[in-house]
C-alpha cells in the first residue's frame, strides 16, 4: 500500500473547497444570467449561495486540523499571511476573502427568498430599512465572489501541483482538473441533487443545463485521463502512482466509484436528459450523488496514490 503525504482530512478539504467554489459559481451563473428569476423558486441559487460558505469553511477547518500547528499553536498560521513566496499564502488570502463573501451571498439569498426574515429583524433592529436592494447587492457579490471561487478551485490543485517531490501531482493538469471537477460537483449538488429534490420541473426551464454539464463531465474525464496517461508515460514514481490508481489497490474504487458511478453514469443520464429535455427523480438524484462522490474520490485517490521521488 502506498504511504502518502496527506490523508482523508486533506482530501475532504480539497473536495469541500472545490464543491463550495463550484456551488457558488453555479448560483452566480443563474443569478447573473437572470435564470434565477425565470421561475418562482430557484433551489440552485439558494443551495449554491447557502452551502458554499459553510462547505469551504468546514474544509478550511479540516485543513487547519491536519496541520500539527493548527491544533497546537494556531497563531502560527497567522505568520503564513505574509510569506508571499508560498502558494499557501495565496490560498490563505483567497480563502480569507472568499469565505466571508460566500456567507454574505448566502445570507442575502436566504433573505431574498424569505423577506419575512428582514421584517422580523426590524422588530429588534429598528434602524434596518423595510427592504434591501437584494439584486443590486448580488450583482456586486456574485462577480467578485466568482473570481475568488475560481481562484479557490484552482488553488486546491495548485497546492498539490507545486510539490515537486511527488511526480504525480507535479503537473499543471492537476489545477485544471480540480477546477473542472469543482464546477462539475457544484452542478451535481446544486442542480442534479437540490433541484431534483425541490423543483423537478426546473430541468424543463433550464433545458440547456444538461448540455453544459455534459461538457464539464467530458472535460473532467479527459483531464483525468490526461493526468494518468502523462504519469504512466513519465515512468518512475509518477507511473507507479498512476498504476496504483488504475490497476492497483485503488483500482476498484477508481473504476467503480469514479469512472462508472461518478462519470459514465452521469454522462449517460445527461445525454438522455439533453435529448428528452428532462430526467427522472431517481436518475437525477443518483447522477448528482455519483458526481459528488467522484469529486471526492478523484481528490482522495490523487492524494493517496502519492509516491515521492527517491534519490
Amino acid at each position: 500500500m502506498a504511504e502518502h503525504y496527506w490523508g482523508w482530512l486533506v482530501a475532504i478539504y480539497l473536495f469541500l473547497g472545490g464543491m463550495g467554489a463550484g456551488a457558488f459559481l453555479m448560483a452566480s451563473v443563474v443569478e447573473l444570467s437572470g435564470m434565477r428569476y425565470r421561475i418562482k423558486y430557484c433551489p440552485t441559487a439558494l443551495v449554491g449561495a447557502g452551502v458554499s460558505g459553510p462547505l469551504v469553511l468546514i474544509g478550511t477547518v479540516l485543513l487547519i486540523l491536519d496541520l500539527g500547528a493548527g491544533i497546537k499553536e494556531p497563531w502560527r498560521i497567522l505568520w503564513m499571511f505574509t510569506n508571499f513566496q508560498s502558494v499557501m499564502t495565496w490560498g490563505i488570502w483567497i480563502l480569507t476573502l472568499f469565505i466571508p463573501l460566500a456567507f454574505l451571498y448566502g445570507i442575502v439569498e436566504v433573505m431574498h427568498v424569505h423577506p419575512g426574515i428582514l421584517s422580523r429583524l426590524r422588530k429588534r433592529l429598528r434602524f434596518l430599512p423595510e427592504t434591501l436592494p437584494y439584486r443590486s447587492i448580488k450583482r456586486v457579490v456574485c462577480p467578485v465572489g466568482s473570481v475568488l471561487a475560481i481562484a479557490t478551485a484552482i488553488y486546491t490543485g495548485v497546492l498539490l501541483s507545486v510539490v515537486s517531490a511527488v511526480p504525480l501531482w507535479n503537473t499543471p493538469v492537476l489545477p485544471a482538473l480540480f477546477l473542472v471537477s469543482a464546477v462539475s460537483t457544484g452542478m451535481g449538488l446544486t442542480f442534479d441533487l437540490a433541484a431534483t429534490l425541490a423543483v423537478p420541473e426546473i430541468h424543463r426551464r433550464y433545458n440547456h443545463m444538461p448540455l453544459i454539464h455534459l461538457i464539464f463531465i467530458g472535460l473532467e474525464i479527459a483531464l483525468l485521463a490526461l493526468l494518468l496517461i502523462l504519469a504512466l508515460n513519465r515512468g518512475g514514481e509518477a507511473a507507479e502512482s498512476a498504476r496504483l490508481i488504475v490497476l492497483g489497490n485503488r483500482s476498484v474504487t477508481f473504476w467503480v466509484l469514479v469512472v462508472g458511478f461518478g462519470m459514465v453514469y452521469p454522462f449517460m443520464v445527461h445525454v438522455y436528459a439533453f435529448a428528452r429535455k428532462s430526467h427522472g427523480y431517481v436518475s437525477g438524484i443518483l447522477s448528482g450523488v455519483g458526481i459528488v462522490i467522484a469529486g471526492l474520490f478523484v481528490r482522495y485517490l490523487i492524494v493517496a496514490a502519492a509516491i515521492p521521488v527517491t534519490v
Binding site: 443551495v47 447557502g50 452551502v51 424569505h114 517531490a165 485503488r250 476498484v252 427523480y281 462522490i293
Partner: protein, 382 residues
Amino acid sequence: MSPKLMLRRMREWPRWTIIPIGLLLAGFAIALGLLLEPAGYALSPVKVEPTPTMPAIAYSEGLSGSCHDCHFSLSALEASAADPSTAGAYLIEAESIATPHGRLGCLACHGGDGEAAAKEAAHEGLVPDMSAEKPEECLICHEDLPDEIPHDRLRVPHGEIIAHIEEGSPCDVHCSDCHGGVGHGFDPVSGETFCSMTVCLDCHQERNLAVQMADCDACHLGPHDVATALTCNDCHTSTETWAEVDLRIHPVDLPGKHGETACFQCHQYPDFKGLNNVCTDCHVSGHTDWGDHDCAQCHDAGATWDMVAQTWNEHAEHWDQYKGQHLKVACRGCHFEGYTNLDPSCDTCHQLPDSHEGGRDAIDCVTCHQADQPWDTSAPEG
C-alpha cells in the same frame, strides 16, 4: 411512506431547508465515500505494491509505534537500557512528533522496524544520523537551500554542502551538525530554539579553517552599508550583544553625550550613512531666527544647550559686553523674545540703582561700567 410522497412532503417545507439538506447530502457523500473506500480496497483483485522506498515508508507516522512506546517513556527506556543512568539521553518529548519533521515518522530518518516489539529487532538497520549516512535523502525535500538567510543576517555554506552531496562525494559537514534533532523539537527555521554560535566556531576550529573563519563575518552578514569596508569586529566588541560597540573608529568625533548614545538613535537602521553629519540630522533647533545646521558654531557638545560655548568668540563681535558675569547668563536670560534684534541697552535687563538718581539715567552704563568688572570699581569720579 413512498419516496415520491416523501419528496412531495419535503416540498412543503420552508425553502431555506434546502440549504441544510444540501449540506447533509455533501456530508452523506463523504460518509459514503469513507465507507466504500475500504471496501473497494479489500475487493481489489490486483495487489500492486509500490516499490518500497525510504520516503514511501517514511510518510507513515503510524509505522513508528514501538519507537514511541520506548522513547516517550523514561521508565521504559531505563528498563531496556544496559546502563539505566544513560537512558535519559534517548528520551524524546512526545510533542515533537507534531513538528514537520516529527510527522514524517521515526523510520523516515532512522530506519529500523517501528512495529517490532523487541529492542534488537526494532533497532535492526538503525540509522542514528541520516544526514551523515544518507545525506542525499535530506535533499528530497531540501534540494534548494539558500546561502544567505537575510532574516537572521546569516551566511551559511548550504550550496557548497549540497553540491558535494549531489556529486556523490559528501563533505564532512552534515545537516545535523547545525540543525541537530530537527525531528525532536529543535526547529531552527521557526526560531523556537537556535543554534549556538559556538557550534559554528568550534566546528571551524576543529577543521583548522583559515583564521578569517573565526571572524564574525564568516557567518554574520553585516546589515549596515559600511559592512563592505569594515568587519563586524572593527566596531562590535561583544559576542553576547551587538549593542556593545567601540566608537573609536567612528569617522567623525563623538564628543560629550554623543559618545554615550546608541548608534541607531542617529543612524537609521540598517544604514549608517545617509547622514549629512550636521547637528540637525538628529537635533531640532530651539530657535528658528538664528543659526543654521551647525549648532557647534555656538554650543559646546560637552556642555548644556542653555549656554553658548566658552570658545565662541563671535558673540562678542555682536555685543562687546559679552564678557565677565554675562558669560554665566543662560541664552534665555537675555534672549527671551528671540535671538536677533535684541536691544543692546543695559536697561533691557538692568534697572537703574537708587544711587544714580539725579540725572544719570540718560547715560549708558558702559560709559562708566564694564561687564568684566564689578559695578563699584568702575564708578566715575565725582
